[in-house]
Amino acid sequence: NAGVTQTPKFRILKIGQSMTLQCTQDMNHNYMYWYRQDPGMGLKLIYYSVGAGITDKGEVPNGYNVSRSTTEDFPLRLELAAPSQTSVYFCASSYSGHTNEKLFFGSGTQLSVL
């Protein structure tokens, strides 16, 4: 079972460049999330989606954009990359947003902005 798949695993960007982090899940989950994880900090929610065509901001959405055209895919777009966006990014999914629904995480994308 593939679960949640993220690409790429590693990327180095120059300041001002743009890129898209890809995330796809094959579990038919409605809810998908993007988190960033910085050293010494807890996972912070960037954006989430409750279904195709519906997205909403999390705690730290500035500098990012998302779209959800299908149930399976939830790409994260970085426009005009800044050093503050250097982080490890995790995509996650769950069947619903209820409290008994655990999150399934991808293996992460390590991004450096230089």
Binding site: G42, L45, Y48, D56, G97, T99, K102, L103, F105, S107
Partner: protein, 111 residues
């Protein structure tokens, strides 16, 4: 403001030496408290969900407990393969689908 604090930041144990990890939280109405395990270079993996004070869950050498202010992850007779970072997260009422994560406890079990 909703907060999740985990302690200690790091813990080194000898194989077989039992101990506990702490997760204290301040939220305005707890919907659920979650424990995850994270191995280096990987995403977090779900362990437990606790909903109300007094609840306990067990899995192999791990046991999670919950009070009104904190949760403990007890590790009994740990093995080297239990080495990982353990993350705590809470979901609060009125926050939609947001989970608030602690910074984790890095556990190393020495053979």
């Amino acid at each position: 403001e909703d907060q999740v604090t985990q302690s200690p930041e790091a813990l080194r144990l000898q194989e077989g030496e039992s101990s506990s990890l702490n997760c204290s939280y301040t939220v305005s109405g707890l919907r659920g408290l979650f424990w995850y395990r994270q191995d280096p270079g990987k995403g977090p993996e779900f362990l437990f969900t606790l909903y109300s004070a007094g609840e306990e869950k067990e899995k192999e050498r791990l046991k999670a407990t919950l009070t009104k202010k904190e949760s403990f992850l007890h590790i009994t007779a740990p093995k080297p393969e239990d080495s990982a970072t353990y993350l705590c997260a809470v979901q609060a009422r009125g926050t939609g689908n947001q989970f608030y994560f602690g910074t984790g406890t890095s556990l190393t079990v020495i053979p």
